[in-house]
Every structure is written in C-alpha cells, then in structure tokens.
C-alpha cells in the first residue's frame, strides 16, 4: 500500500501529464476559435482546481479531464479532415501543421 504522501505525488504527476496532453491535443484543432477555446478552457479548468484537496473531487476532475482528452483526440482529427482558410486574426505559427500526430 502506498502512503498518502506517495498517492498525492502520483496524483500530481497524473494531473500534470493529463494537463500537458490536453494542451498538446487542443493545439491540433485547425479551426482557430475551437483551438483557442480548448486551450483557454483547459488552462482555466486546471487553474480553478489547483488548490483542490478533497481526494474525491480530484478524482472526479481527473476522470472528466480524461474523457475530455479522448473527445479532443477524435474532434481534432475531424477538424483536420475539414480544413478551412485562416481566420483574419489567426497567426500562421499557432496553426497545427497539416499532419495528425501519431503520438
């Protein structure tokens, strides 16, 4: 059995890895507005739960984040299949390359 301290560290690591995957996947949206929203929503969602201490609430949040991640993977793939021209305020660098990440 792991001690509470160990569990806390591993939960932290899980959360951090999930956060990074969510951001990386969000960047794969070719549609500017959806990409910006996914990034903003992920950042704000994790920021709001930064100080969460209740293990139950943390678990719920992480389960939800995992579901979000698989949804994002499917929807960014759809977004890459139907590409539209750049939006006027969009900078060239923020757009994902025309390639679906195989990672």
């Amino acid at each position: 059995m792991s001690t509470p301290a160990q569990t806390a560290t591993s939960t932290r690591a899980v959360a951090f890895s999930l956060y990074r995957s969510l951001l990386r996947t969000s960047r794969q949206f070719t549609a500017y507005n959806f990409r910006e929203y996914a990034l903003r929503r992920t950042r704000d969602g994790f920021r709001d739960h930064k100080a969460e201490s209740d293990p139950r609430a943390i678990e719920d949040f992480l389960t939800k984040a995992e579901k979000e991640l698989s949804m994002l993977k499917r929807q960014t793939a759809v977004s890459q299949m139907y590409q539209f021209n750049e939006q006027v305020v969009e900078s060239k660098h923020s757009r994902p390359h025309r390639r679906i990440s195989t990672a």
Partner: protein, 499 residues
C-alpha cells in the same frame, strides 16, 4: 481488377458521352479511397483509438476529393498509414481562397461545439434506430438517448422532462404555442397580447390568427426596449387567452421582466408564452420561478445542431393546445413525426454543456462585451440601442450616427456582422425593432449588432475595435453630413429644398 474495369469504363465514357465523363473522376476517387482503406485496415497503428476513425478517414475522403478529381493511384501504390493519412489531409477541401472573417453574429446562429458533434457522430454512424421502435434494440438505444437529452433540456430550464416537446426549432415552437393555444380556447376566448418587438414568427402567427377572427394587441415598448407592465396589465381582458413576450430580444438583447409578466398572467389566469431562443443556456431561467406556461427553445443558438428545438408545455396547471402537425401521436400527440435522434442527442448535450458552463461562459462573454462596448461607445456620436442594465451582454447593438449601416457592413468585410435580424437582413428596411423603440430612421439605418459567444477571443474583439474605428472614421470623412456636423451645423435645423 475492379480498378482497371472502372478505368476502362471511364475511358469509354470520355469518348462517348459527356455526362458519363463528368462522373468518371468520382469513380476514380471511389476506387482510390477503397485502396486506401484496405491499406489502412491492414495496418495496426492508429492515431485515435476509440472511434476507429481509420475507416472514417477513408470514407470521408470520397466526397472531399470529388471536386478536386484526384488522379488514380499509380499501379504499385503502397503506403503506410502515415503517408495515406497525409495524402488525404492534403486533399482535404479548402473552402474559399481568402482569409475567413471573424464571426460576430451569434444571434443568427452559433458554431456547433465539438463536444456536441462528438455525441452526435455515433448516431450518424452506428445508432440509426427509430426511437419509436419498441420491438428491437436499435429502437431502444436511440430512445434511451432521446430521453436522456430530454432530461438535459428540462434540467436547464427547471422543468419536468415530460413537459419538453421536441420540434424543428424555435419558429415551429412559437407557431405551435401561439396558434395552438389560441385555437384550442377559441370558443371562450379570442384575444392575444404580444409586443411590437417580438420575432417575426410570433408576429406572423398573430397576423394569421387575426385573419381567423382573433383580436391581437401589439404592445408598444418603451425607449429602452422593455414592455411597460402597467400597460400589459391594462391590456388583459376577460377573453384574453395568451400573452406572448420574448425573454431576450434578438436584435437589441434586452431582457424583458418575465418574472413580473409571469406573475401578472398567473393572477389573471392567462397563459404566458415566452420565446426564449436567445435566452436559454445564456441567462439562468426557471419556468416555475417565472410562471412560464409555454416556452420556445432553439438548438442552434446554444452551440447545438440546426433544425432542432423544443417547446416547453406546462402540465400543472395544464396548458392545452391544438397541434399543428398531426399523425402518429408522438410527443404527447402535440407534435407527430419521427424524432431526429442525432439532432436531439446533440441538442441535449448542448443543453448539458450550457448548464455546466454557464458561469464560465457568462464571465467570459461579459468581459469581452464590456471591452467591446466601452471601446465603441468611446467614439463620437455612437449610441447603444436598448436598456444598458437589463441586457444580455452577448448582444451589443450600437448605432453609428452619420454612417449608413449597410455601407459599414460592406466596409467590414473581414468581420461577419449584421445590422439586425438575419431574417430581415435581405431587405434594406430599417429594423422594426429599433423603430418600435422610437429611434428615427437615420439612426435605425446606422445600427450594427455585435454578437459575442463562447468561442469569441480577446484578439478578435481588439481587431474588431480597431477595424470599426478606422472604417467609421473613413466613411464619415466621405459624408457631407459629417462635415456639416463638424462645422457645428444642427442637421435638424436645415430645410432641405429638394425632395
């Protein structure tokens, strides 16, 4: 073997008839995508695990490349998954050739949330059963999804799921409510009250009822766009069956005092219908708190799919209506016809997200709205239309004096805006909503509606602020009226000689 056959057919077609020749590229594409799918199926790698999108990629490819008429694959064509995916993406259709404008017309419609599409796709791929089929699992699974969606819609407005009737949208719900109630009670009551700033579909339903012999009172609104409650109460007669006042106006975004209107209607035992297409999912609404008897909801105004909506019909005290569409008796007999399970599932998910995200979205939209309206109202001779307090922040309607609204819209090609309702934007008539507020024609002609939503970004708002400032200044420089205003001439005092 099959490929070569198609090729021969196509060649023959090219020689003989032009109509077959035109269809031949499609045949090539179909054959090439079939090859691609075989290659993909043989590969074990995948970039999306859950929805098995390897198949999806190959099948979507056919209509996509049909316009570009991709050449057939070379004889020894072999490709790994990555390469074929890359090829498909290269062929992915690029619409238009210029940059896409910023979308700021959220009152007309909203983009479909990717989370909503994610729920809908499985109903377009595998779950195709008729939700009314009682004899097999295909029917049961879509029926479960429909009932789940109904619960999400009901929860968003504080209703019971049994009180939700799915329709094709808010226009149908409005027609159903206004005509339905009036016709059902026509033996005893023949009077309806509505306001001058209602949506066209409510006003037109009332016009039709007038032709059928009903009496309709069109309440005027005050200069801030709100209905006068005393005037409303005075207009209620013993033979009044229905009051229909919208919650949030689609052109100026004012929020009518529906709580008070609901109380007045309940006191006089008159049914209260509200068109809440622009309000549901954006501001908190509770049908019991506001004493609403009938309410119209639209799917595509809350980041859901187009072509679906709902009508809330109260059960206690019971509201009875004569259905417009009759048939198989679905939806409590009020709206017959097979339910569109994919759209309903998407609509339900949109409602669920709207409920969950309402505090977050409202905060974001209010911030952007303040940034936009502060910036625009800081310009000379700009006026906000509608009440500044009782106002949904996602709809900012501003008049730019001495600029013609339509020419400003033309000058702002890089921003998708509207001068008012999408339904009336084809005509050059000034908005009847703004005229009902008492705005003069010149000011009504120079109004622009900015619609902010969940997916609008700060960068977009800043771009819009700059663009509007620059182009309003430019258009005013061209205007002789503006020159006279700058010289201090009061335009009202001028007597124009030639008319």
């Amino acid at each position: 073997m099959q490929v070569s056959m198609i090729r021969q057919l196509a060649k023959a077609g090219l020689r003989s008839s032009s109509s077959i020749a035109r269809s031949s590229p499609r045949a090539f594409v179909a054959s090439s995508s079939a090859t691609a799918s075989r290659h993909q199926l043989s590969s074990s790698r995948s970039y999306v695990s859950e929805s098995k999108s390897r198949k999806a990629v190959a099948t979507t490819d056919a209509p996509l490349t049909s316009h570009t008429s991709a050449p057939p694959p070379p004889p020894g064509f072999k490709s790994a998954l990555d390469e074929s995916t890359a090829e498909i993406l290269q062929n992915a259709e690029l619409l238009d050739s210029e940059k896409r404008p910023i979308y700021l017309d959220m009152q007309a419609t909203t983009p479909l949330d990717p989370r909503v599409l994610d729920v809908m796709l499985k109903f377009y791929t595998g779950l195709y059963g008729n939700p009314h089929s009682r004899t097999h699992a295909y029917g049961w699974e879509t029926d479960t999804a429909v009932e789940e969606a109904r619960a999400h819609v009901a929860k968003l407005i504080g209703a019971d799921p049994k009180e939700i009737i799915f329709t094709s949208g808010a226009t149908e719900s409005n027609n159903m409510s206004v005509k339905g109630v009036a016709r059902f009670y026509k033996n005893r009551k023949n009077h309806i009250i509505t306001s001058q700033t209602e949506h066209k579909c409510v006003l037109d339903s009332c016009r039709h009822l007038q032709d059928e012999g009903f009496e309709v009172t069109y309440l005027p609104v005050q200069s801030n766009g709100l209905v006068d409650l005393e005037e409303l109460e005075a207009a209620i007669r013993p033979e009044t069956s229905l009051v229909s006042i919208m919650t949030v106006n689609n052109e100026i975004g004012v929020i009518q005092p529906i709580d008070e209107i609901g109380q007045i209607c309940r006191k006089h035992k008159v049914f209260f219908h509200t068109d809440a297409a622009q309000a549901v999912g954006k501001i908190p609404i509770d049908v019991n708190k506001s004493n609403i008897d009938l309410m119209s909801i639209s799917g595509h105004k809350i980041y859901g799919p187009k072509g679906i909506g709902a009508c809330y019909v109260r059960r206690r005290p019971r509201v009875r209506l004569e259905p417009i569409i009759t048939g198989g008796g679905q939806e409590r007999g009020l709206r017959s016809g097979t339910l569109a399970a994919p759209l309903i599932a998407g609509f339900g998910e949109a409602c669920r997200i709207a409920k969950e995200e309402m505090p977050y979205d409202s905060k974001h939209i209010s911030t952007l709205s303040k940034r936009l309206s502060d910036g625009l109202l800081a310009m000379d001779h700009t006026i906000r239309n509608g009440d500044a307090e009782r106002h949904y922040p996602g709809c900012v309607n501003i008049s730019f004096a001495y600029v013609e609204g339509e020419s400003l819209l033309m000058a702002l090609k890089d921003i998708a805006l509207s001068s008012g309702s999408a339904c009336t934007s084809a005509s050059l008539e000034p908005s009847y909503v703004l005229r009902a507020l008492g705005a003069d024609d010149a000011l009504a002609h120079s109004s622009i509606r900015f619609g902010i939503g969940r997916f609008t970004t700060v960068e977009e708002i800043d771009y819009v602020l700059n663009a509007v400032k620059e182009r309003v200044t430019f258009l005013r420089e061209l205007s002789p009226l503006w020159e006279m205003v700058q010289e201090g001439i009061d335009l009202e005092s001028i007597e124009w000689s030639q008319h």
